[in-house]
Structure formats: C-alpha cells, structure tokens
C-alpha cells in the first residue's frame, strides 16, 4: 500500500480519529480545566478564556468535551468491536454448519430482535449494577443481533462457493473456513456495516446517557453533555450543540475511513467487486 494512494477524504477521517484518540489519551494534560471543576458562571458564552463557553453548572465545555472523548470513544469502539466479533463468529458458524445449529442460533437471534432495543437495554441496565463493563456488554450484545443477520446472509453466499468446498475436502477445520476462506470475501459489506454500527453505538450511548442509564454524572460523555445542556437551547445557548457536533464529526470521520477501506478491499485484485 502506498500512502499517496489514500484519498483525501480518508486522510481527513484518519486525522479526525487520531485527534479524538489523542484527546482521549492525553485528556488530563491538554484540557485547560478539570473534568468536574466549576470554573465560571452558568452558560457563559464562548470567549477567550472558555473557547466553547461553560455548561449548565459552570464547567468548561472544552475540558468536558476532551474528557468525554475517553468514555465515548472507549464505550462505542469497544461495544462495536465486541458486537462484530460476536455477530460474525456466530453467524458464520450458523452459515457453515447449517441444520440444527443454524436453526437454534437464527431463531434465538429473531427472538432477541423482536424486543425493542432501547426498552431491552433500559430493563437490563436498570437491573444490573451500573458500571462501564456491563454497559459495553449490553450494547454489544444488542448490536450483535444486527451483525448476525447481515453476517449470515453474506456468509451463505460465499459458503457455497467451490473454494470453500475445496477447503472442506482438504479437511480444514471450521475456524480456518470461517476466518481464512469466508471472512476475507465478506469484508466489504461487513466494513460498511462497521462504520454504520459505530456511529449508531455513539448515538445509542448518547441516548442511554441522555436517559440517565449510560455514563453516570459527574463523568463527562458527549451524549450526557447534550442532555445536560439541552434546556439552554431554548434560551439561545449553543452549549448543547458543541458535543452534538462532536458526535456527528466523529461518526463522519469513521465512515470516511471505512469507505476508503471498503473500496480498497473490493478493488483488491480479485476482489468480488461488490460494495
């Protein structure tokens, strides 16, 4: 791969993600104020001291945004990665084994999908202890049902190809068939889905935080910040728009990178040309 082959949009996306990662890692050093420190008046407009102004309790929005990157990025990324690992392994197992295993997994998946995601998450999170690991796992498992459906559909297409049969005839185990024969040929649709699911994860986390079941105050996350400051919008205070813009920007950045990866995998010599 040559660097100059990477399109400008992908560079923008990569830069955005790197910036977010940088903020997440070095938050205590680059944030001008503390995460929960009250430094000014309520809803102070942006000025030289507070670049994005202050929030509903007089905390610096920029600082909270930087600290919020940690939780938002960690939770959304971890939840998406886990949901993909889970969804892909289960769906590919179903697609390669067919029969009873496929039936059991698929019907269970249907069962999970028949319950509205948000309600399900609210019930489970209300019962289970409130910590970040549980939150990530609940989000991941709920999301993996969507990945499962897509994964099974694309894997079924590939599983009937002669090269998969050739691998079976060679005596290859299931994990080789799944990860070496099928997965590389289904990357394009899965990557597209990954970009979409990541953005959804950020939004879902924001929704949960907004409803008070996500990240618990006073810790900052972008969705929670929107919730805290939503009332300000009525008074013409832009404080809620800043974290909202950050969510949108990160989602767009991830998708720009994914679009490029997708083009790369599908235009690979011998790519199936899908996507």
């Amino acid at each position: 791969m040559r660097l100059r082959d990477i399109p400008i949009t992908a560079w923008i996306g990569i830069a955005g993600i790197l910036l977010a990662c940088f903020c997440a890692i070095f938050a205590p050093w680059i944030a001008p104020h503390g995460e929960t420190e009250i430094v000014g008046n309520v809803w102070q407009p942006p000025d030289g001291q507070f670049v994005f102004g202050t929030d509903n309790l007089g905390r610096d929005i920029l600082s909270r945004l930087i600290y919020g990157t940690r939780t938002t990025l960690l939770v959304a990324l971890a939840a998406t990665l886990i949901s993909f690992s889970l969804g892909i392994v289960l769906s590919f197992t179903a697609a390669t084994s067919r029969g009873v295993i496929d039936q059991i997994l698929s019907r269970f998946n249907d069962l999970m999908m028949s319950i509205p995601t948000l309600i399900f998450a609210l019930v489970v999170l209300a019962v289970l202890p409130q910590n970040i690991v549980i939150l990530i796992l609940v989000m991941a498992i709920l999301d993996s049902t969507r990945v499962y459906r897509l994964g099974r559909a694309v894997a079924l297409d590939v599983a009937v190809m002669d090269f998969v049969e050739a691998a079976k005839l060679r005596g290859e185990g299931r994990s080789w068939i799944i990860f070496r024969e099928i997965l590389p040929n289904t990357l394009s649709p899965l990557l597209a889905e990954f970009g979409l699911r990541f953005a959804f994860s950020i939004l879902f986390l924001s929704t949960l935080s907004f409803l008070g079941l996500g990240i618990q105050p006073p810790a900052a996350d972008w969705g929670g910040m929107v919730k805290d400051n939503k009332d300000g919008i009525i008074f013409g205070i832009s404080a809620a728009l800043v974290p909202g813009t950050a969510i949108a920007a990160l989602a767009i950045c991830v998708n720009m990178v994914v679009d490029w990866l997708m083009k790369r995998t599908s235009s690979l010599k011998g790519g199936r040309g899908d996507a």
Binding site: D162, A166, L169, R170, G171, R180, P184, N185, G270
Partner: protein, 547 residues
C-alpha cells in the same frame, strides 16, 4: 427468386476501441479490433471463429450497430444493402435491429423473459416493428416452430420458457430471430451451452431454417468442427485481427496459417491406452445416491480404476457424473454400496474420513475462478496443502511451491499474484498444482477443460498426462467430450440418467457393438470435416425409414 450478386452485408476495415480503467492510472483507449473486412451474400453463412477475447462477438454485434459496455466503433463501415449502418441515428438503428438484423444469444435460458409465454416473445419484434399483424406473426411462428422441428408447433408458443428443454429454447430463440423475415441473423455461440446430443438437433434445425428462408447469417463459435457444418465461408480471428479468411473447405482442408492449423488439429490428441489391471486403486460397488433422501440420482453404479491410469466418465448434463464425483469425495454419502480405495473401504461421509484419506483424493473443478479463494495469492493457494498435510513452512514451503509452479509450467513470477490476475488456463494450472501439492493417489477432474478455449484446453490435457507419467497419479476425468476421452482415457464409463450404460477399457468401450445411447453420443460429436452433419442426418433418416 433470383440470386443477387452484390453482397448483402459488407464490412470494410472495421475498427473498434474500448476505454479501460487500469487501477491507479488514467483511463485510456485500447484497440480491441482492427482491420476486419468481409462480405456476405444473400443465403450464405459466414463462420466467425476464435478463442475468447478474439473479438468475434464484437464483430457480430457491430452488424447491429451495437457495442457492449464502453465499446465504440471508431473506424470502417458496415454496409447492409449498401447503406452504412454506423451512420444511422437512433431511430434508424431501431428500425434495423430486430427487423432487418436479428441476434441469437448464447444462453437462450437467460435471454427469454421467464414471465411471458414463448409465443408472445417470438412474435414481439415483428409486431412491434409493424412488419406483420399479430395474426400473421402467429401463423409465421407456428410455421417456424415446424421448420425448426419443435414438438407440437401449434401449441408450442403457449408454453413458458421453464417448461421446455434447453435445446428447444435455443430453437425457439432462432424462431424469434427468423420471425420478422430479417435479412441477416447473427448467431452468437448458439450451441455452446448444449449437450452434444442436443447440439446436433439444434445445428440441423438452424441449417434447415437458413436453407428454407434463404437469409444470410453470421455464425460465431469457438468450435471449428461446428462451424464447418453450417458455414460457407470461415473467418478466423485472434486478438482482434483476422488470421485467415476463406471458404470453409479451404480453412478445414488446407489451412494456411499456423494458428488455423493448430485449431484444425486440436482434437487429434491421442493417448496410448494402458492395460495393466493388476494394481487396483479405486473400486465402486453398486453405488446408489440420492439428494435429500428423495431424489435418487445414481442407480447401482460400479466401476474400478487401476493405479496410474485415467478413467473417463462420459455423459450429458443430468446423467449423474458430477454426483458420482461428490460420492467419491464423501460430500454426498451414498445411500447404498461401497467405495474401496487402495484395498480399504472408505468411510462414506466426509466427516468420518481421516486426513490421510482426504490427502490421497484431490479434486479439480470445472470453473477455476470459483475454485480458488480470490483473496489468496498463488503462494497461499498452493502452499496451504503443503503446510496442512506436511507441516511445511518458511523456506522449505516456498521452495516446494516453486517446484510445483515449475511442474505446471509457470514461473516464480506468479507467486504473489491473485487469481484474478491470471488467465483462464493459468488458473486451472494453479488449481492442478494445488491438487498436486498434496501428493494424491487420485485426482477427480470435474470437466476441468470445458470452460477453456480449445488450444488452452489441449495444453491442460497434455499437462495432466505428463504429470501422470511423472507421479503415477490416477485420474477420474468427468467430461461430456468424446474427443477428450480419446485424448486421455485408459478406461471409459458412459453414464445416462444415473445408470452406467457402458464400462470397460477404452478400445472396447469406444468400438462397436454399441448400445443405443453410446451410439447416439458418439455419432453426435461434430467431426472436423465438411458434410459430416448431412451424413449423420442422412443415416438417421435411413434408420428411421428402415424402422
């Protein structure tokens, strides 16, 4: 009707270009056809022959003023009755296509709309162009169905495409092309997808219809033996250029160019038959097999194969020959019977077989494109059996892959290529190397050459024979082509509707007395000489008159 002397179709110095989009480079134009000229008189047939990519379909379509995706006709002229159709506008072309010039596609099954009755589709162009009324068109369709030898011509048009056989569908498509009384028909490989026994009927029907209606035709194919039966003149194309252009007689009997000579002699490969039966390798005993326990496809099939020899399984599509291969591999466990391999009975199902069993039986597929993972390089594809069966890695593995590439007459420059960067013949060679890497005792070949051009296929067959001489590997070779059987087989099994109709050493199986099916099969294989078709049809007529 008096014979007109001037040409109906006259193509002068045709030049066709296409835009290609190489990765990482600016798009550029490439010439895919250049300097092609020919004349076609009324009532005559010109055969266009060449391997895939030679430009034969492109020439055919240019007579309809059409270029497939991104193709532009940039030079020369195509005169139909003296009028240059390349200068026609959209409406001019519309009144030309489907009315004066008609097209018969390779796959009739894909060319008919499955939602409409055949009759409606056959007369559609004639009615739309206002050439005849619906009633007249129907009458003509029935007449054409009769000329083309379709069953129940009166009611044939009532049927839907899925209700008739592939051969009948191809004839229906010919009827569709003939219906508006065109001046020229372009046949684009009309019999390539058909079994030989069906092909002969379609060929006879097409020939009869051309004689009956006196129209001119372009007949495109890669099979010189087929075109020799229907064409008056033959043009050999290669890489978008004319190699040779002459009468059918001259091309077949006295070809001038080396390439044409190679094409004419491609089916003459012969194989010295081995007779040593003392070292048995594979024996099938009374195999029955069924799909989903309901649809039985194999009925008591028994055959055997000695070490280092080739068993050819011959039959048309649906005869159960590929199913037999699936039974031997264990993909489809037989419902009855046993498979004995090297003196030991093989477990029926794939899951019960040991890695050693699997290593000793390898498989080569018909379509090499789908038989190799498009995301793996040649190094990975050939290297995997090495590390899987022999635990090879690192330098030793790379060396062995290099040796295997050498064996299949390809060099180390292919190591890091993906399958899409290989030609059809090279892909099939890599598939052979993959099978060979396991050092098997038996390779099942499921029509490995039927998707390849004749000269490339011949190269593959020669390679397989050389590898057999070097490594003593045995082949079960599934094919529908009798010429291939003559070229490679030591023993022959003829399958028909799931039953074995004939089995034995080649010289016995392929010499009389024949059973009815083998006789039909052998007589249906086109021979590389003029007048073969007439002769076969004549003997058939005499036989039926005698009954």
């Amino acid at each position: 009707m008096h014979e007109r002397l001037q040409s109906l179709l006259s193509v002068r110095d045709l030049k066709i270009e296409a835009k290609i989009y190489p990765q990482g480079e600016a798009p550029r134009d490439v010439t895919i056809l250049e300097g092609v000229s020919f004349d076609l008189k009324k009532g005559k047939v010109l055969g266009l022959i060449g391997e895939s990519g030679a430009g034969k379909s492109t020439v055919g379509l240019s007579t309809l003023g059409y270029g497939r995706g991104g193709i532009r006709i940039t030079g020369g002229e195509v005169l139909l009755n003296g009028q240059d159709i390349l200068k026609l506008g959209r409406s001019g072309l519309r009144s030309l296509r489907g009315a004066k010039v008609c097209y018969v596609a390779q796959s009739a099954a894909a060319a008919f709309n499955p939602a409409h009755r055949l009759g409606e589709q056959v007369i559609e162009a004639s009615v739309e162009h206002g050439i005849m009324s619906r009633e007249e068109a129907r009458e003509r369709a029935v007449y054409l169905f009769r000329v083309l030898g379709l069953p129940n011509p009166e009611s044939f048009g009532e049927r839907y495409p899925h209700q008739v056989s592939g051969g009948q569908l191809q004839r229906a498509m010919t009827a569709m092309a003939l219906c508006p009384n065109p001046e020229l028909i372009v046949f684009d490989e009309p019999t390539t997808a058909l079994d030989v026994t069906t092909q002969i009927d379609v060929l006879a029907a097409i020939k009869h219809a051309i004689e009956e209606t006196g129209i001119a035709a372009l007949y495109i194919t890669h099979d010189l033996a087929v075109v020799a039966q229907v064409a008056d003149d033959i043009m050999v194309l290669r890489n978008g250029k004319t190699v040779e252009y002459g009468t059918a007689q001259q091309i077949i009997e006295a070809p001038k160019e080396d390439y044409t000579r190679a094409l004419v002699s491609v089916r003459e490969m012969q194989h010295e038959e081995a007779v040593d039966q003392s070292r048995p390798l594979l024996r099938l005993d009374n195999i029955n097999a069924a799909y989903s326990n309901v649809l039985q496809v194999l009925f008591g099939v028994s055959m055997h194969l000695p070490k280092g020899q080739t068993l050819a399984i011959v039959g048309e599509s649906g005869s159960g020959k590929s199913t037999l291969a699936r039974v031997i591999t264990g993909l489809l466990p037989p419902s009855a019977g046993k498979i004995v391999f090297d003196g030991e009975e093989l477990p029926k199902a794939l899951a019960q077989r040991t890695r050693e069993h699997l290593r000793r039986i390898q498989m080569i597929y018909q379509i090499a494109d789908t038989a190799m993972n498009p995301r793996q390089t040649v190094r990975d594809i050939i290297g995997r059996p090495l590390s899987f069966y022999y635990g090879m890695r690192g330098r030793r593995k790379t060396e062995r892959v290099g040796e295997l590439l050498e064996q299949i007459e390809m060099g180390p420059q292919f190591l890091d290529r993906y399958p899409a960067e290989l030609s059809g013949g090279q892909k099939q060679r890599v598939a052979i190397a993959r099978a060979l890497a396991a050092k098997p005792d038996l390779i099942l070949c499921d029509e490995p050459t039927s998707a390849l051009d004749p000269l490339v296929a011949e190269g593959i067959l020669k390679l397989l024979m050389r590898l057999q001489a070097e490594t003593e590997v045995s082949y079960v070779f599934i094919t529908h082509d009798i010429a291939i059987v003559r070229a490679i087989a030591d023993s022959v099994a003829v399958m028909h509707r799931g039953k074995l109709v004939r089995f034995g050493p080649r010289h016995v199986a392929l010499s009389p007395p024949f059973d009815d099916y083998t006789d039909l099969l052998l007589k249906s294989v086109p021979e590389m000489r003029i007048g073969w078709l007439e002769q076969v049809l004549k003997t058939r007529r005499m036989a039926s008159a005698g009954n």
